[in-house]
Subunit: 417 residues, 2 copies
């Protein structure tokens, strides 16, 4: 490794902020700063078109692969051997304007500033946005980057059915982003992703930068609880087979397990749907999701097992049937120590306040880490709010993060492993 690199490129913070604001107009949620651009929706297409236009305006080589991942590179040979950055531009149903978008547009800014500075690069720079990172419309999340690294076949991706009954392949076709570039994609030299923290740690500590050492493991389970629909007034409690009663106990159990295990363990019931969902009818069935995360794989497995056992017990007592489906499962990820050190050194050099930390959210970087040295840079989320239109990061933090990304990417063009 040759460190530090020599070239100094100053990013144009105002240009980055302008692009963030312009992209946020697409799918804007009225009366808020937030966005709704679910994967492969019309709004996603509009967002893609805008970013691709910016990529082409810089004269970059732009490819769209067979699952809709878009890669723009300064090199003629795409991302092969490039120092790559990127993230995603899809959002949750009621999302913010920085989640994902910051990483893509900061990457674009780094490239534009570098090209403007006329620096001769030893390796190409590339910026990507990966399909359906959020997984809000189609499981699993990080779908595009998972396919990019060969972790899910293109065939499987295209067949995925969404909660709304639509099919990924058909929707990709419809929005014009079922491309022809090969997937799995080219192997980069390194990958660094800038992202908002989406949690309260940096904001509470008053720090500017998080140097991300790894990602929590993620376990998503969908439970369908089937009981006996009945009149709410005439069925004695002891004779009920009430799936909502089980769903409530399971939700309480999931929380208790997380609190008992402590540490980084979290548990969330974000989705619960009853049928027929009427005030005076014991529901026939309940469909719920449970999101478990931990930085430690063994503890995550413990949480899964405890919840599985408890769910079976609760369902049996109530006479309710359970079918369980894994919507997503990713082990905790450890990023490349050399890249982590590189980021930390450059941040120190720039006088930024920082800490090393794990990511509580899943990110495309964890997929890329399977094929090349990878790490991430976090900037603070005010009050830790994310996946919410109120998501906010201060302008100076956005710009500081993007400048650190520039410094890091350029340094990595000069590094050999």
């Amino acid at each position: 490794m040759r460190l530090p690199y020599g070239a100094v490129v100053s990013i144009d913070g105002a240009r980055l902020l302008d692009r963030l604001a312009e992209l946020a107009q697409i799918g804007a949620i009225e009366g808020t700063q937030g966005c709704s651009r679910l994967a492969f929706s019309d709004a996603d297409r509009e967002g893609r078109d805008l970013v691709v236009t910016w990529m082409r305006d810089l004269g970059l080589t732009v490819t769209v692969d067979t699952v809709g991942n878009v890669v723009a590179s300064t090199g003629g040979d795409g991302a092969t051997g490039a120092v790559m950055t990127g993230s995603h531009i899809d959002t949750v149903g009621t999302g913010g304007r920085y989640d994902g978008n910051l990483g893509v547009l900061a990457g674009l800014e780094v490239i534009e500033a570098t090209l403007a500075a006329g620096i001769e690069l030893q390796r190409p720079l590339a910026v990507a946005f990966f399909s359906n990172e959020e997984g809000s419309r189609y499981p699993p999340d990080m779908m595009g980057s998972l396919a990019y690294v060969g972790g899910m076949s293109v065939e499987s991706v295209l067949k995925v059915e969404g909660a709304d009954g639509t099919i990924v392949g058909e929707e990709l076709e419809r929005i014009g982003y079922r491309g022809s570039a090969p997937c799995p994609g080219a192997i980069p030299h390194a990958y660094v992703e800038l992202h908002i923290e989406q949690g309260p740690v940096l904001d509470r500590a008053g720090l500017q930068i998080g140097v991300v050492e790894g990602v929590q493991g993620i376990s998503w389970t969908e439970l369908v609880l089937t009981g006996q629909s009945n009149h709410a007034g005439t069925t004695p409690m002891a004779l009920r087979r009430d799936p909502m009663a089980v769903a409530a106990e399971v939700a309480v159990a999931a929380r208790d397990i997380a609190l008992e295990l402590g540490g980084s363990q979290v548990a969330t019931v974000g989705s619960l749907t009853l049928h027929p969902n009427l005030v005076n009818v014991v529901p026939a069935n309940a469909t719920m999701t449970i999101d478990l995360r931990n930085t430690d794989e063994k503890t995550l497995q413990l949480a899964e097992n405890q919840l599985r056992i408890r769910t079976a017990e609760l369902a049996e007592v109530e006479g309710v049937d359970v079918t369980s489906r894994a919507l997503a499962r990713f082990e905790p990820v450890e990023f490349d120590g050399r890249v982590v050190n590189q980021i930390e050194q450059l941040a120190t050099k720039s006088g930024l306040s920082m800490r090393r930390m794990p990511s509580g959210a899943g990110h495309d970087a964890q997929m890329l880490s399977r094929i090349c040295p990878t790490a991430m840079i976090f900037v603070p989320s005010v009050d830790g709010v994310s996946h919410n239109p109120a998501e906010h990061t201060e302008e100076q933090d956005l710009i500081a993060g993007a400048q650190l990304l520039a410094d890091t990417l350029l340094a990595l063009t000069e590094v050999t492993w």
Copy 2:
């Protein structure tokens, strides 16, 4: 009271079953025996049109009042001083074919058989179907009969907004059932309603008839729990304001309270809606309903108070805001002992197996009991299933109940209070 009455009228069981089957075709849920005819929907209109045609074919005086209640009478002066029967023909979203419909069509059959027998009545017979008994689309349930007895103003009824944003007055107008007959309506001499039990008591005991002494009190509450939407992976458990966590605890608490109070106390969470309802987002808010019922008003109040206190405690711990709205509240009702005795004596005379019992469900009869001597007759529900397309009552039980209704109504035409 002159008992027993002399006239004997045999109802035509086959004709009753045919009408039940024909009415069940309207709003039929494919592949089931069930029906979906939500109040004031197109299906409700079609059902109303069919039953009104049958009423007119018998030469009855048919009136439609200002909230859509329909009354058909053998007398020229409507229901004034009549021995009245009836029920409702609206259903829950996924309902059965007998709930309500049996009472209306059995009443029609009693009148047809009586007219055919050429019996000279000392008082008119009347059969009614009341608007929106179920309350599934617009609160409160038993809306039409409540207005009929003066318990809710016509103005208030017409203004009610449904969960789908529609307004009762506009929908009534749309389906052509905003009539001109006065509401509150005429005061009958007596009211007896035949209904399926909708619970498992008669079926489990192998009895043919329930002589209904009264109705459980009903308390419907809607809670809106507002927390802080956030990323499910990055927000430590201790920093969450999760409305689903509170909703789950409240559902568990409601059940625990019902089990601790015992007796006839039941508690049901039939409806729960999360927003945004995504696997990886801590919900911003949860809207849930709680249905509490008891035959004893004091115990019902105790259940309400315990739940209110527990909800406030749970919400405070989680930092979640609660707004509570009463969707419906009816005290327990005691039916008229003279009418209850009359039914019991006639059932005994006919050799029917039976028991006295309370109703766990609300019925239009509890509203009519405010203005005239009232009671009800129950027939068994197989496995206690109701508010479900699988709702079923054996044909011989339907017919036995209708014949007992005929005997009772005719006896009451000869009774003076």
